[in-house]
Symmetry: D3
Subunit: 126 residues, 6 copies
């Protein structure tokens, strides 16, 4: 099994609903350093799973739809907390269509690092 | 599948028995930077797998039972080498009970980084 | 010359005024991974510049006054952009008084990492 | 399941054939920071999966056959692009024999970091 | 004193002349992860030393003149080894003119990381 | 001004005397990831400040005199705490003689990372 991972980041504001979140119920924000890992059992005809430049461009495009925004105002998060887990899934789902066109990719893991001591991942098939 | 990982560290002394260890048979020590990764297929009602603050507190409590100690004197390692692998398993087993109470967690991976060039993991189900 | 550095982080929301900031004029946010480096030419009587635990506690206390907040609403940033540079200076200034009590510290550098590809520092004497 | 990972690096020149590679069709080069992760369900008699020193020596020996070379001139890559994926597989295959002798290892993942924002892995059984 | 640092990378081939280099006399290559740190005693009117986006764009442009090339064929290195130190100086000198236009910058440090265990810097005034 | 930095590590046991150290008064240990940064205003005849391989070998030799030991038993620390600051100075002083023979080096900074959230440095002239 092969995988290719590319890294980029987003900077957003948001707040959380639920007592479990304590002070994070207030409006605050985060930088998420985002790793998108594409995997598949075979390489394509050029000897690559997918082109790293194309994977980076796809990730940058998907993150461009989120960055420098207050997620509390985004329709994608209406009625749900934009937790690191939920964001990881959203990024993965938006990457999935584009990824299929880049090479023989069968799976995807998106990891969002919210600090040097905490991160979350979502893994799905294509 | 979702996962949440939190990072902390411990600083311990120990020695190893066995010729394979060479100079590490002498009393020495290590800082282990410890990553605890909790995973599960579903999120809980607040849109999270578990609260990052609660996961960090659990890890800190478990590591508090080990840090600033000579592991050669600890009952938990009587008759076994406190290798990075063995320590990773011990931390994972101690985390497992507490983790079950934090959210819909079904698996756990504990990774101990003993330097910038070597680390060990132990993976188990809950 | 000796130095001791400790690391912690804050998660905040803010917006910027000025065309140079482009999309960062919108309300967004950041995680800042914060390094506080204390320096001095001599060690104290215990053979340390300052206690790493005490330095970590001081940094955590100072960052506690900023984290999980919208900096646009904070009096400290009235009329100024809460840029990474300005925040680094504010953290350094707030650390300075406490640092003087911890040991023979004569200088301070505060670095705020806003992502894996950008960070800012402010250096001052005590 | 246990795993042990060790890190080393290689510095090589190469070029790629295929329009997808754009400017990387020119002769250029890379530092690959290489992580070799060995895994297995049980520990050996000394309480380790394998000796970290022995694993590091094995990785260093395998990388020694590649480093400070122009891969375009190496027989191992005749007719194929020495992409990060292909290199990860070659390193894994060369590690596999040696790894079997070091302990109860049943699987192997080799990851090559080509920069701070891109890396590739190859996973195989032993 | 304030500073802003941005990070990018280049991938190049080269060889060295001189017995001290041992196997690095052969044609090989490197990824350099490049940090450009701009410093100055005052902030500009927007409360920043310089815009991080503009600094990143300047660094990317300068590195674009080097990446995916064999430095042995570049006029800039005729008669000199393209060592990490020499490359750090070249990047710093090329950044210097552009940096002056971005804000009240008075100094510059360029660091090239050639692996996880070795890096070189060049520091100059503007 | 140029600099070259190389990284290695040591694993030691020790204890501290003094109430300020709290639980670190017990016998414990640490991995120190050690960065040795050599600096000078000019390059030597080969276009380098010093050879990275030679610098790495020098650092490895110096650290070899400390690693896998209980520093409480070492004569070098009789009557003093082997704090991170004191160790950084000792490593710097031992590197200084060797460094002078490697190239036109005029200064030295040694940094010991004791965890992902704390490190200490000692800077001296040659």
């Amino acid at each position: 099994m092969y995988s290719i991972t590319v890294r980029d980041h987003v900077m957003i504001a948001h707040s959380f609903r639920g007592e479990v979140f304590g002070p994070a119920q207030r409006l605050h924000g985060a930088t998420y350093v985002v790793d998108a890992a594409f995997s598949g059992p075979e390489l394509g005809p050029d000897g690559i799973l997918l082109d790293i430049g194309a994977a980076s461009a796809l990730l940058h495009e998907v993150l461009g739809g989120l960055t420098y925004r207050n997620l509390d105002d985004e329709a994608a998060f209406a009625g749900v907390n934009s937790s690191t887990e939920v964001l990881a899934r959203l990024v993965a789902d938006r990457l999935a269509d584009g990824a299929a066109g880049l090479g023989p990719v069968t799976g995807l893991v998106v990891t969002l690092h919210e600090s040097h001591v905490a991160w979350a991942s979502y893994r799905r098939d294509l």
